[in-house]
Subunit: 349 residues, 2 copies
C-alpha cells in the first residue's frame, strides 16, 4: 500500500512494544496510561516499561484522538497578534489551557482574512474540541455557530451563545471618576466602531457615567481603533468642543494618535488636555507623556473564557470579568489648567 515519505525508521507503535514485551497491546495501553484499575504482575509491568524505553515508544496522539473522539486542542481567533492586548490575551489563554491539559491553536484575522471560518471548519472536522472567538463576529455568523462549542470573548451575542467579556462599563466609570477627581468637568470620549461590541459598550457606559455625575455630555467621537483614528478624532474634539479638558479613549492605539496630534498642534498634555485610555500595556508606558490607563485583567479574561469553554456549567449568560480593573495614573492626566479655553480650530495638517 502507499507509504508516503516517512522520515527515518518506521514508527514504533503499540504493537511493536507488545510484541517485544510478549504481551497484548491492551496491556501496554493500560500500563502507559496508568489505568488505576489495572492489576498486573510486577514482572510483566517491568517488561512493558523496558520495551517502551528500549524502542522509544511514544503513543500516537492521532490514533488516541480518533478513539476518544477528542483532540485536547482548542482554537483561538484574535483580531491581530501584533496588538499587545491580543498578544497578552493569547499568552493568558495558553497558560490557562496548559493547566487544563489543552493545547491552543491561534489564528489572527489580520494575518489572513477568513480565519474565523477556517477555525469553525476545524471545529466541525472535530480537530478542535472548542473555539474561543475574540475577533469580532457579526450577529448572523454568531447565530449560525452558537450551537457549537464556542465561547465569544470580549463580545456578547444572543443565547445560546456563551460570552466572556470585560466589565467595560466599570472601566469607563473608573476612567471618568479619575478625571473628575482631578477636577475635570468637560470630558469627551473617543471611541471605536459601533459595529464592534466592546467599543459600543464603552461608549454607552461613557454616556451613562457622565449623565450619572451630572456632567455635560459632549458628543462621542467615533473612529477607527488606530493611531490615525486617534489623530482624526482628537482633531474633532479640539476643533468642535473647545471646553473639553479631558478625553477618555477607548484603546491604546487611538490614544497614541491623540498624543501625537496634540504634540503637533502644540496642545500640552496634560495641562490643556488630559488623556486616559482603556487597556494598559508596554506602549502606553513608553509614549510621552506616559498614558494614564485603565488596566484590563486580560489574564482573568483568558482563564474565564477557557473555563466557560470546558465547563460543564452551561451558564448561558455572559460572564463579566471585573476583578483587576484598575487605573494607573501616569503623566497624561492631571488637573485642568485654570484659565481661558484653548484657541479655536487648527489650520493645516
Amino acid at each position: 500500500m502507499e507509504q508516503r515519505h516517512r522520515r527515518g525508521p518506521a514508527r514504533v507503535t503499540i504493537t511493536h512494544v507488545a510484541e517485544r514485551a510478549g504481551v497484548d497491546r491492551a496491556l501496554v495501553s493500560r500500563v502507559v496510561n496508568e489505568d488505576p484499575r489495572l492489576r498486573i504482575r510486577d514482572e510483566t509491568r517491568r517488561r512493558i516499561v523496558d520495551a517502551v524505553a528500549e524502542l522509544g515508544y511514544t503513543p500516537s496522539r492521532t490514533a488516541r484522538n480518533l478513539r476518544l473522539s477528542r483532540t485536547g486542542s482548542v482554537g483561538l481567533v484574535v483580531p491581530e497578534l501584533t496588538n499587545p492586548v491580543w498578544a497578552a490575551l493569547t499568552e493568558a489563554m495558553e497558560g490557562a489551557a496548559d493547566s487544563l491539559g489543552l493545547t491552543v491553536l491561534v489564528a489572527s484575522e489580520s494575518s489572513r482574512p477568513g480565519r474565523t471560518d477556517h477555525f469553525v471548519r476545524l471545529l466541525d472536522e472535530q480537530f478542535l474540541d472548542g473555539l474561543l472567538l475574540a475577533a469580532p463576529v457579526d450577529a448572523t455568523e454568531a447565530a449560525r455557530i452558537s450551537d457549537r462549542n464556542v465561547v465569544f470573548v470580549n463580545q456578547v451575542h444572543e443565547p445560546p451563545a456563551r460570552s466572556v467579556v470585560f466589565d467595560d462599563g466599570l472601566a469607563i466609570r473608573m476612567a471618568v471618576d479619575a478625571l473628575v477627581e482631578l477636577g475635570h468637568i468637560d470630558i469627551a470620549h473617543i471611541g471605536g466602531p459601533r459595529e464592534r461590541d466592546a467599543t459600543r459598550r464603552r461608549a454607552q457606559a461613557f454616556s451613562e457615567a457622565v449623565e450619572r455625575l451630572g456632567l455635560p455630555l459632549h458628543p462621542i467621537v467615533i473612529g477607527p481603533l488606530s493611531i490615525d483614528g486617534g489623530v482624526h478624532s482628537v482633531d474633532q474634539v479640539l476643533d468642535e468642543h473647545s471646553r473639553v479638558t479631558a478625553v477618555v479613549v477607548a484603546n491604546v492605539r487611538s490614544a497614541v494618535g491623540v498624543l501625537r496630534r496634540c504634540a503637533q498642534r502644540g496642545v500640552t498634555v496634560p495641562d490643556e488636555l488630559s488623556v486616559v485610555c482603556v487597556h494598559d500595556n508596554e506602549v502606553a508606558q513608553v509614549v510621552s507623556p506616559p498614558l494614564t490607563a485603565v488596566a484590563m485583567p486580560v489574564h482573568s479574561l483568558g482563564e474565564r473564557a477557557l473555563q466557560a469553554l470546558v465547563g460543564l456549567d452551561s451558564a448561558r449568560q455572559p460572564v463579566i470579568v471585573r476583578d483587576g480593573i484598575a487605573v494607573t495614573e501616569r503623566g497624561s492626566s492631571g488637573p485642568p489648567r485654570a484659565g481661558p479655553p484653548r484657541a479655536g480650530p487648527h489650520r493645516g495638517g
Copy 2:
C-alpha cells in the same frame, strides 16, 4: 461501550452518507476528495453530493490524519508573544502556513516554561508534522532533537539541524554605516546575552564592522534584552566611554531603556547621543524621539522557515534572510554635536 459526553446529535460519519446515498463509503470518500481518477456516473455523484448536503457531513480530520499519518499542522515556539517582533513573526508564519494548507500551533515560552519540550513531545506523538523553534534552544537540546523535522529560527545549530536566520551582520553594518554617514566615529554597541545566538552574532558583526572601517572599538556592553537592561547598559556607556556619540542597540526594548535613561540624565538624543536599534516596530515609532531602526524582514523569515520545514530540499546549511533589511531614519539619530564631550559619570538615579 463508552459514550462520553458528546454534544448534540451523534456525529455524521462517512458511513451515514454512504447509506443515505446507497453507495459504498469508498465512493463517498473519493467524491468528497475529488479523486481525479474516479470514474462515476453523474447520477450517483449527485446522490452522494445531496446526501452530504442533507446530512451536513464534514469529514473527521482526526480519522483522516490517522489514515494519512500526517496532520497538516506545525508547531511554532516563540520566546514571548507580547514582544512585537515575535508577534509579527507569528503572523507571518501563520500566513505562510495557510498558503501551504497548514495550520500553526503557537506556544510562547514566557507563558509557561517548558513549552519547547511540550511541543517536541507533540511532534513525537505525530500530532505535529514539523516544528519551528524561534525560542532559544541550548546546544545540547538542539543536538538531541535535530534529527526530527525541526527548523531553528533566528538561531544556528550544528548540522543536521536546519536553521533560518536573519543576516544580522548586514543589519549591524547598515546601522554602523548610517551613523558613520552622519559623521559619527565613536560608536558603541549595546547587545544582548552571549548565550543567545542572534545577539551574539550581532555583537560579533559590530566588532567586525568597526574594525573594517578603522573606527575605535569601544567595549561592547552586554545586558538583558529589556527596558531595564537598556537603562543599565547606557549608564555604563555614558559613564565609562565619554567619547561615544552613538550607540547601536541590539533590540527595541533595550533601546527604549536607553532613551528613557538619557531623558532622565539630561542627555539629549540625538544631539549628545544618537541611537539606532535593530528591529523596527510600533514601539520604535511611538517613543520619543522615534527610533531610527533597522527593519528586519520578519515576514520573509517566516516564509523561508516554513519552506525549509516542508521543503524536499534538505539543504542542511543555514538559510540566511537578507532581502528587506533596511534602515529607517527617525529622530533618534543625527550628526554628532560639535564641541566638548559630555560631562562625566552621573550620580544618583
